[in-house]
C-alpha cells in the first residue's frame, strides 16, 4: 500500500500549519492550536498504525483523545484563572483601605 505514504505526507502538512498558529496573538488561540495539534497527532498515529499493520495503536488513540480533552479543560481553567486573581487584587485594595 504505497498510498498511505502520501497520506502520511498530508498529515505532515497539517501539523506544520498548526504550529504557525502557536505564535498567534492571544493565549486562547494558542490553547486551541495545541488542542488541534494533539488531534493531528492522533490522526498521525492512526495512519502509522495502518502503515505498520499493528492493532495495538488503537488503544493508544483512545488514550490520546482522552488526554488531549483533559489538556483543553486544564487550559480553559488556566485562562479563566487570571480572572480570579483580579478578584484577589481587588479584595486586597478593600482590605488596605479598611485597615
Amino acid at each position: 500500500f504505497t498510498i498511505d505514504i502520501c497520506i502520511v505526507m498530508i498529515a505532515v502538512g497539517m501539523l506544520m500549519c498548526v504550529i504557525r498558529l502557536l505564535k498567534s496573538p492571544h493565549l486562547a488561540d494558542r490553547a486551541l492550536a495545541s488542542d488541534t495539534l494533539g488531534v493531528e497527532l492522533i490522526g498521525m498515529v492512526i495512519l502509522l498504525g495502518m502503515r505498520f499493520m499493528t492493532s495495538a495503536f488503537i488503544d493508544g488513540v483512545l488514550i490520546l483523545s482522552l488526554l488531549s480533552f483533559a489538556g483543553t479543560v486544564a487550559m480553559a481553567q488556566y485562562i479563566a484563572r487570571p480572572h480570579l486573581r483580579h478578584k484577589q487584587v481587588k479584595s486586597n485594595e478593600k482590605l488596605e483601605d479598611l485597615a
Binding site: 498529515a11 501539523l15 494558542r30 497527532l41 493508544g60 490520546l64 489538556g71
Partner: protein, 911 residues
C-alpha cells in the same frame, strides 16, 4: 575467658550505661526513685563487668578482633590495658557518685531528671568507649559522641541564650579538634598501615616506622590539636570556663574528672609510641603545658565565681598533665638513648619501659579527679543553698548544720587542690617536681629552670586559692553585713524553685563529694592503700616500691618526699602561696582575654563574611540556579569524556531505512527540535507550557514511529499531567520572568548543549555491550545488549521463533524526555517487533510474566527498582501535601472569604 567472650563483655560494659539510659526513658516521669535505681545500675553494671574482666583475664587481656566495617577500617578492637581500664574505672566510679549527686541536685524536679539522665548515660558510654577502644575509627566514633553529649549537657537550659552560646562554643572547638584528630588518625593509619594502637605499638617496637618522615610529624601535630582542644590547652581553653553554664553535676563529671581528661588520655595512649622517636614531641608539649598550667592558675586566682575558679584550676591541672607527658619523654627517651648509663637511670628506663604507661600520669589523673570532682559538687551544693559568688559566701560556715558540713568537705577538697602534705595530690605534685628536677639534671639546659619557676608559681597560686577560700568561708559573720545579704540571697538565687528537701536526699548534695575526698586522703596518707586500691592496675610494679625506686629513699612514713630539689620546690610554693592568699595582692578581677575569641569569630562569620559570600551565590532567581546546575553538568560531562567526541557509540543498524519511516521520522524529529528551540525564545509563560506540551507530544509521536506504543502512552500521560500541574502552579506563582530579551541567547546555548549531552548519554547507555560481562540468556548464548537479554528472557523465550537477523534491536530514539523510561527505549524497539508480526503471538513464559516486554521488565525483572520508584513517588507526594497544608493553615495570605468554590462572579449563577 575466651577472647570472644571478653570482647562481648567489654562491649557490654561500654554500652551498659547507654542501654540503661534509654530504658529509663520508658519509666514515666514522676517515678524518680525507680529511675534513679535504673540509672545507677548503668555505671554499676559497667563497673561489675570491667571487674569481672580484669579479675578473669587480667589487665591487658587479649580480646578478639571483630570485623564491622572493614572497608572503613572501623572494626571492633578493644585494648583493655592499664591506661584504658584505669580510665574506664575512673569514669564509671565517679559516674556512680555523680548520678547520686544529680538526684540531690535536681531534687524533686522530675522532668529535668527525665531528660538529664539519658544525656549523662550517653556521655558515660562514650567515655568508656574512648577508654577501651583500640581501633582508630572506633576511638573517633566515641570521641565525637563525647563532644555531642557535652554539647547537649552544657546547653541544658535551652532557653537561656548564654548556655546555648557556650554549648555551641564548646561543641565547635572540640568538634574542630576532633576533626583534626580524625585527619591525623587516618593519616597515621594510611601511612603506617596499622589501624589499631596495639598494632602500631608492635610496629614501633620492631622499628618498622621511621618517625623522621614528615607525614608522621603531621600526624603528631593533628593528634595533638585534637587532644589540646579537648583538654583545653592554652589557645583553646576558653571553652571550658564557658562550659560552666552547665548544671553542676555536668561540670563535676565532664569538665573536671573525665571528659577533659580524654585529650590527656589520647596523649597517654600515643605517648609511648610517639615520644620515643619524635624529638618534636617535648618541644611542643612541655612549653605549652607549662604555660597553660601557670596561666590557668593565675586567672583562677582572680575569679570570684566558685565554679569559674575551679574551671581555671582544671585548665591549669590539664596543662600540668600535658607537661608531665612531655617531661616523661625526656626520661623515657633519655633512658633509651644512653643505655646503661648508671643503675638509677637503668632502673628508670626499665621501670618506664616495662609498663608502656607511666604510673605518674595515672596518679596525677586520679588525684585531680579526686579533689576536683568534690570541689565542683560542693560548689554546686553551696550554690544550691546560697550563692556561688565567693565574696557573698562570707561566714557561710556559721549558717547552720548543712552549711557547716559542706564547708568542711569543700575545704578538705580545697586542701587537695593546694596539694598540701598528707594528700595524694602532694605525692603527685612531688612526682611532677621530681620529673622536672630529673630532666634538669640529665639535660641541664637552662630552659628547665623556667619550668621549675612555672611549677612553683602554679603551686603558689593553688595554695593562695585554698587560703582565700578558707578566709572567706570561716570568717566571723559580721551581723550587719550578714542580714542584708542573707534575705535577698536566701530565696532569690538558688537553682530555680527547688525546695530543699531535708533528710537523705538533701545529704545527697554533699555525700558523693565526701566519699571522693575520702579517697584523696586515704591514698595520700597511706601509700600502701593506694597500692592496694590501684596497684593491680599496673602488675609490673607496685606504686609504692616503684615510688621508692624512683625516690630512692626508704622513708615509709608520709614524708616520702625526695629530699632533693622537689621538696624544696613544694615548700617554697606553699610558703609563697600562704603569703599571697592572706595578702591583698592580686585581688583585682582579670578575665581571660581569650574569652572573647569565640564571640568575635562568631560575629565575624555571621555579620561580615556570611552576607557577602551568600550574596554571590544566592541570586534569588530560580533561573540562575538551574542555569548554574546545567552548565556544571555539561562541563563535567565534557571533562569526563576528555574531549574524545569520536567515541560516540552509533547504533549498528541504520535506523530509518524504510522510506515510510523516513518522512514522518524527519518531520517529528524536526517538530521536537523546533518546539524545543522555541521554548527559550517565547516570553509568555503559559505559551511556554503549551510549547513544552507540543514538544512532549511530538516525542510521543516519534515513539509511535518507532513502534513503541507502551512508552508513547506513558510519555503522553505524563506530558498531560505535567501540563496540568504547570498550569496550576503558574496561576499561583507571581510572574517574575524578566521581560528583557537579553537572557535568551544564553538560555538557548545552555539548552542546546544540555540536549547534546543527554543525546550522547542515551545513545551510549542503550547500546553499551560490555564484553567482560555479556548478557547470557539461559542457553549460554551471549547477547549483543541489554535489550536482547530482556527480550530473550521475557515471557516466552523469543529464541523459540526464528528472529530475522537483520532486524534492528538497538533502536535509537532522540532525547527521551520521559525520565523513568530512559533505559527502556531500546527495548521498545524489541517490543514493537515482538507485537508487530501479529501472526505468532510471542508469549514469553519462563522469564517474566507477560509478553509485553516493557511491562515485564518494569514490574518483574526490575521489580525492585519499581518498588523504589513508587516509594519515592509516594514520599514526594507526601512532601507536597505537608508543605502546602501547613501554609494553608497558617493562612498567611488573605483568604478572601467572599469566594466560593465555583469560581468567578458571572459563572456563579450556574455553579
Amino acid at each position: 575467658m575466651t577472647p570472644d567472650s571478653a570482647t562481648w563483655l567489654l562491649m557490654a560494659a561500654i554500652f551498659c550505661p547507654l542501654i540503661c539510659g534509654t530504658v529509663s526513658l520508658l519509666i514515666p516521669r514522676p517515678f524518680i526513685l525507680p529511675r534513679l535505681l535504673l540509672i545507677l545500675c548503668g555505671p554499676v553494671g559497667a563497673l561489675l563487668m570491667l571487674g569481672h574482666f580484669t579479675f578473669h583475664s587480667g589487665v591487658g587481656g587479649d580480646t578478639a578482633f571483630v570485623e564491622w566495617m572493614p572497608l572503613l577500617h572501623l572494626n571492633i578492637a578493644l585494648n583493655p590495658d592499664h591506661l584504658g581500664l584505669f580510665f574506664a574505672y575512673l569514669v564509671s566510679g565517679i559516674g556512680v557518685c555523680i548520678v547520686l549527686y544529680a538526684r540531690g541536685y535536681f531534687g524533686k524536679d522530675a522532668d529535668s531528671l527525665f531528660r538529664f539522665y539519658p544525656y549523662l548515660m550517653i556521655f558515660m558510654t562514650a567515655m568508656i568507649g574512648v577508654a577501651l577502644s583500640d581501633n582508630y575509627m572506633m576511638l573517633m566514633m566515641f570521641w565525637e559522641m563525647t563532644s555531642i553529649s557535652s554539647f547537649l549537657l552544657i546547653g541544658w537550659e535551652r532557653d537561656t541564650p548564654l548556655s546555648v552560646r557556650n554549648a555551641m562554643q564548646a561543641f565547635i572547638v572540640t568538634g574542630a579538634g576532633g576533626l583534626c584528630m580524625l585527619a591525623g588518625l587516618i593519616f597515621l593509619g594510611v601511612h603506617t598501615g596499622e589501624w589499631t594502637i596495639t598494632g602500631l605499638l608492635t610496629a614501633v617496637q620492631h622499628g618498622q616506622i621511621d618517625f623522621s618522615a614528615t607525614p608522621m610529624k603531621v600526624c603528631f601535630v593533628l593528634l595533638f590539636l585534637g587532644a589540646a582542644t579537648k583538654s583545653a590547652q592554652f589557645p583553646f581553653q576558653f571553652w571550658l570556663p564557658g562550659a560552666m553554664a552547665a548544671p553542676t553535676p555536668v561540670s563535676a563529671y565532664l569538665h573536671s574528672a573525665t571528659m577533659v581528661k580524654a585529650g590527656v588520655f589520647i596523649t597517654g595512649r600515643f605517648w609511648p609510641i610517639m615520644a620515643a622517636n619524635l624529638e618534636l614531641w617535648p618541644m611542643i608539649i612541655v612549653p605549652l603545658g607549662a604555660f597553660t598550667m601557670v596561666y590557668g592558675a593565675f586567672v583562677a586566682l582572680q575569679k570570684t565565681d566558685l565554679k569559674k575558679i575551679f574551671a581555671y584550676t582544671t585548665v591549669s591541672q590539664l596543662g600540668l598533665l600535658m607537661c608531665m607527658y612531655g617531661l616523661a619523654a625526656y626520661k623515657y627517651g633519655h633512658g633509651e638513648a644512653h643505655g646503661g648509663e648508671h643503675a638509677e637511670a637503668e632502673g628508670m628506663a626499665h621501670a618506664a619501659a616495662a609498663a608502656p604507661n607511666l604510673i605518674w600520669d595515672v596518679t596525677q589523673i586520679l588525684n585531680h579527679a579526686f579533689y576536683k570532682a568534690p570541689l565542683f559538687i560542693l560548689a554546686g551544693a553551696i550554690g544550691h543553698i546560697a550563692t556561688r559568688e565567693l565574696p557573698d559566701l562570707k561566714g557561710f560556715y556559721h549558717k547552720g548544720g548543712q552549711a557547716k558540713i559542706m564547708t568542711i568537705v569543700l575545704l578538705l577538697a580545697g586542701y587537695g587542690l593546694a596539694a598540701g602534705p598528707f594528700t595524694l595530690s602532694f605525692t603527685a605534685k612531688e612526682f611532677f617536681f621530681y620529673q622536672i628536677a630529673h630532666a634538669l639534671e640529665t639535660t641541664s639546659n637552662p630552659m628547665f629552670w623556667i619550668l621549675v619557676a612555672a611549677g612553683i608559681a602554679t603551686g603558689m597560686f593553688n595554695v593562695a586559692i585554698f587560703i582565700r577560700l578558707c578566709t572567706t568561708m570561716l570568717a566571723k559573720p559580721d551581723e550587719k553585713h550578714d542580714e542584708q545579704h542573707h534575705d535577698d540571697h536566701a530565696h532569690g538565687h538558688g537553682h530555680g524553685e527547688h525546695e530543699h528537701e531535708t533528710g537523705f536526699y538533701a545529704a545527697l548534695l554533699w555525700i558523693p563529694g565526701a566519699i571522693i575526698v575520702a579517697f584523696q586522703y586515704i591514698c595520700g596518707m597511706i601509700p600502701y592503700a593506694y597500692d592496694y586500691l590501684f596497684g593491680w592496675l599496673d602488675p609490673s610494679k607496685h606504686f609504692y616500691d616503684g615510688f621508692h625506686t624512683l625516690m630512692g629513699n626508704e622513708l615509709p612514713l608520709v614524708w616520702d618526699a625526695h629530699l632533693g630539689l622537689p621538696l624544696v620546690m613544694s615548700l617554697i610554693a606553699i610558703g609563697l602561696g600562704c603569703a599571697l592568699g592572706f595578702g591583698k595582692f592580686l585581688r583585682g578581677t582579670f578575665n581571660d582575654p581569650c574569652d572573647h575569641l569565640y564571640p568575635g569569630f562568631y560575629t565575624m562569620t555571621t555579620k561580615v563574611v556570611g552576607p557577602r559570600a551568600f550574596g554571590l551565590v544566592q541570586r534569588g532567581h530560580a533561573g540562575f540556579y538551574v542555569g548554574a546546575v546545567l552548565v556544571a553538568m555539561v562541563a563535567l560531562f565534557v571533562w569526563s569524556i576528555g574531549g574524545k567526541f569520536g567515541s560516540l557509540v552509533w547504533p549498528e543498524g541504520a535506523v530509518t531505512e524504510t522510506f515510510a519511516q523516513l518522512l514522518p521520522g524527519l518531520l517529528l524529529c524536526g517538530m521536537v527540535c523546533l518546539t524545543a528551540l522555541l521554548l527559550p525564545v517565547v516570553m509568555n509563560r503559559a505559551s511556554r507550557v503549551l510549547i513544552l506540551g507540543m514538544c512532549g507530544f511530538s516525542v510521543a509521536g516519534v515513539y509511535y514511529l518507532y513502534k513503541a506504543p507502551d512508552l508513547a502512552l506513558t510519555q503522553l500521560s505524563i506530558e498531560i499531567v505535567s501540563i496540568i500541574l504547570f498550569l496550576l502552579v503558574l496561576s499561583l506563582v507571581p510572574d517574575l520572568t524578566p521581560k528583557t530579551r537579553k537572557a535568551v541567547p544564553i538560555r538557548l546555548v545552555i539548552s542546546i548543549c544540555v540536549g547534546l549531552v543527554m543525546f550522547w548519554l542515551t545513545l551510549s547507555s542503550t547500546n553499551v555491550n560490555r564484553p567482560e560481562m555479556p548478557y547470557v540468556n539461559k542457553d549460554g548464548q551471549n547477547l549483543p545488549n541489554l535489550g536482547e537479554y530482556f527480550l530473550r528472557n521475557s515471557h516466552h523465550g523469543i529464541d523459540s521463533m526464528a528472529v530475522p537477523e537483520n532486524q534492528v534491536y538497538g533502536g535509537v530514539v532522540s532525547k527521551a524526555i520521559d525520565p523513568n523510561e530512559v533505559h527502556d527505549n531500546a527495548l521498545d524497539e524489541a517490543v514493537s517487533h515482538a507485537t508487530q508480526d501479529g501472526e505468532k503471538s510471542y508469549l514469553i513464559h519462563h522469564g517474566g510474566g507477560g509478553n509485553n516486554v516493557v511491562n515485564v521488565i518494569l514490574v518483574d525483572f526490575r521489580g525492585f527498582d519499581t518498588m523504589g520508584e513508587i516509594t519515592v513517588l509516594g514520599l514526594a507526594a507526601m512532601g507536597v501535601w505537608t508543605l502546602l497544608r501547613r501554609r494553608k493553615k497558617s493562612g498567611d495570605y488573605n483568604d478572601p472569604s467572599d469566594f466560593e468554590d465555583s469560581g468567578p462572579e458571572p459563572l456563579k449563577a450556574e455553579g
